[in-house]
Symmetry: C2
Subunit: 486 residues, 2 copies
């Protein structure tokens, strides 16, 4: 059954908790270049940091891990301080008409981390303090990262590192004014109930400079989101939470006669809270809560030794099929980190993922096809995910009708259908070379919409992700990436 498209006359979403002047300042920053540093200057700075920030990472056998070890009974992999994270087992069971149960390794990190971007006006334009930061799992070393990216283990000094730079702007109410503050999930298939506090804070007073940090406008960061594997996952999730309504006049220079121009105009409309939407927000919540209420997924941590179908050898913990992911270990030598060298486990996905929104213009407004997707690691059962989210290699052995829905359609897109297409990576502090092709593909067909999918405007997704437990990390990444199109 396809769903009915109802009530187009309602505004898609209300304005969010920010007042009009803040919304205007954010929109202006998103449309602006910086007077401090051109985009060319950003590139020069980044290349200079790339030379200065050395991080040598090599895979090691588990036996060479220092301070990390497998528990003799549970088999769980943990640090001897009890902090950072552990690798444990997860047993999940979904009930209902089509019950499924499985077990798998999962990362467990109960502490909530900070992902914070500090902003400040220069020449009347908001700028973001962005960091050039290396993480051991990164494919290309350095990435453009938030001002602060810290777990409690970092900032309480568990790993004997130096203090986290600029953290005080996020912890001391007198030093900053919050624009965004929301707890967001991480990968629900790789992490058990992991969350980060996503923050945008406007600095009060002067902010000291540092060679690893530069002030960029939102517009500059937005354009860098078009570059493959440059803007890290943490930056993407924080930016997705910052409501960017297009400023008046943003359509200047956009032609609406070509299909690309019209698509960009439709995206601009989709970012507006006042745009007409296929469904009102109460209608979408009814659908979402209905699925959440019917969901009976039970997931619990179990000893890693008790998971079925996974084996541990000297170098990795892997699925006997060779699919899904592996737990591996690395040794890290770093030049400018809190700690000069360390070893740690990382989760290494098998193959490059595909993360894609199918998009469609409805009454001139771009809608994306969101999926209400259960993952065992979510705090609240189900979150909104992209249309497609998978590692195609995991499904290569299956006949077409059993492959993930919409995957083939997305991969077969003609160039003129593609609004966004770049490889991006997941968090390099926990995931080893976890790359996915992020795509937004416009369709002019009217595909059958399964019951767990709905067409939504970008503004509706942004309104929901002002609160916890609505939008998964992949959807938030794509929402940030979409802004590079506009």
């Amino acid at each position: 059954m396809t769903q009915a498209i109802m009530s187009r006359k309602h505004p898609a979403v209300p304005p969010d908790g920010l007042d009009a002047p803040d919304l205007r300042r954010i929109a202006e920053s998103a449309a602006a270049d910086s007077g401090l540093l051109s985009l060319g200057g950003v590139h020069d700075w980044f290349e200079e940091r790339r030379k200065a920030i050395r991080m040598d990472v090599r895979r090691i056998p588990f036996a060479e891990l220092q301070r990390w070890g497998f528990h003799p009974v549970t088999g769980n992999l943990a640090h001897d301080s009890g902090r950072f994270f552990t690798v444990e087992g997860l047993r999940a069971r979904s009930e209902g008409p089509d019950p499924v149960s499985w077990s798998q390794p999962i990362m467990h990190q109960p502490e909530v981390g900070f992902l914070g971007i500090l902003v400040k006006e220069f020449d009347g334009v908001l700028h973001c303090l962005m960091q050039a930061k290396a993480e051991p799992g990164n494919a290309e070393g350095l990435q453009l990262s938030p001002t602060v990216q810290a777990t409690r283990s970092n900032y309480t000094g568990v790993h004997e590192g130096s203090a986290v730079r600029y953290l005080e702007y996020f912890t001391d109410p007198g030093k900053g004014r919050p624009l965004v503050d929301v707890l967001q999930s991480e990968h629900g298939s790789w992490f058990f109930r992991k969350r980060n506090r996503n923050l945008v804070v406007e600095a009060v007073g002067d902010v000291p400079e540092h060679e690893d940090y530069r002030w960029l406008t939102l517009g500059q960061v937005r354009r860098l989101l078009g570059v493959p594997d440059l803007v890290n996952m943490d930056t993407r999730t924080v930016l997705a939470c910052l409501p960017v309504a297009p400023p008046d006049g943003s359509l200047e220079g956009v032609t609406t006669d070509g299909s690309r121009g019209a698509a960009v105009a439709a995206l601009t409309a989709s970012l507006s809270a006042q745009a007409p939407a296929a469904h009102t927000l109460p209608e979408l919540l009814r659908w979402f809560n209905g699925l959440r209420a019917r969901s009976e997924v039970a997931a619990q941590l179990v000893p890693l030794t008790s998971v079925d179908g996974w084996v541990r050898d000297t170098d990795e913990i892997r699925h006997t099929s060779g699919r899904h992911f592996a737990i591996v270990a690395v040794s890290v030598e770093a030049g400018n980190r809190e700690v000069k060298g360390w070893t740690q486990p990382l989760l290494s996905p098998r193959g490059t993922g595909v993360v894609a929104f199918l998009a469609k213009r409805i009454d001139g407004v771009l809608h994306v096809l969101a999926r209400a997707h259960p993952e065992p690691g979510y705090v609240d059962l189900i979150e909104l995910a992209p249309t497609v989210q998978c590692v195609p290699d995991d499904h290569a052995h299956l006949p077409p009708e059993q492959r993930p829905r919409f995957l083939d359609q997305v991969l077969a897109a003609r160039p003129e259908q593609i609004l966004y297409d770049a490889v991006q990576s997941e968090e390099g502090g926990r995931f080893y070379r976890a790359l996915s092709r992020y795509l937004v593909v416009e369709t002019d067909e009217d595909p059958v919409v399964p019951d767990d999918y709905r067409w939504m405007t970008v503004a509706q997704l942004v309104a929901l992700l002002q609160h916890s437990n609505y939008c998964n990390i992949q959807a938030r990444s794509l929402i940030a990436c979409l802004q590079s199109v506009w």
Copy 2:
């Protein structure tokens, strides 16, 4: 340290997901009497139903429970169908500077129930279809209940009852248009992660009549909230989710010279999304997420036999101190229920509770003092609670400085400080005579505000409770009750 009162010029909250015409219709209904049935007629109908709806409830020993039994190993109390709910054990541990750990019995009901009010326009005014319904735990038998109040065990026929009346308006999108749809928590100290779907749906087409149901305006229900123990908990939580902004002209007849009149005017202002607030919503979310991020409460179900300090005798499971609550059993004979007679366990609190908001006018707008309160049964660790939420008898043995904060201040209120004061009950299908005195007490002092409390407008609380995991059941009850004042 008291907190700073900042940024009064910001609007408190944005308008919610409902559009202006719906908000106006809700406000008009909240100000209206019904053309269908006067409030006197409602009383007559209710008294007539009270005579017709017979429910005899008597306490029984556990041995007389039918189809309920204690598991031989875990000691958990369960129904032989595996549905309804179980009584299990809970072990909770909070870390941090002042670690606490304890265990207790807790009710576990993983299925999500429906609490739904059907609304429809008559003579251009929205009316709510309210039900006269008896529950075994009710002190006074009948209560004014939502149109639908059903667990999945009800509506999938597990207890062999008849179909749930009017349920199709909430499950079939073609039969109703959603105004409210949100998953809300129940008592986090009595239930493990129990949630209900709170729904307000506008009926499409004619709705058949039934003698146990009557159409009332929001204004009529609002006035009945001033009557002790008449409007049930489920009605209160659903009504709290329905955003009532006072209509233009609602201040007619309200004098502002007396202190009561001024307080009511301040409450009216507090219900408006545009009212200036002590803190902006982003500031409040920063505070709330900061507490949630720092919270390290771990709670898990354990066998009931393993809880410490609780004993089971023939009639009840109770704490050795005689405080907190007991698990008891009842036998029920009913006249008009899906099932004519049954036995079941209930949770019986010791003593009458106190649930109170301390309120204060700030720049002419009534603010209530909300507390960010961890309870082990919440899905997401912490929710906003009233200023005071306790059973005073549980603390009678303690010296004053160890009694719950603000309790003595609330109980010592002079009559002219009291905006609302009525005994209300918790859900009678699960709790046996669980009565609390619900209070809203205005202070003209400027009390020291501890770090886990904040002054908020009612509109800010209402904006947050459009989403899950923000406001606990006691706070939602009080928000509904407050509307009887206005």
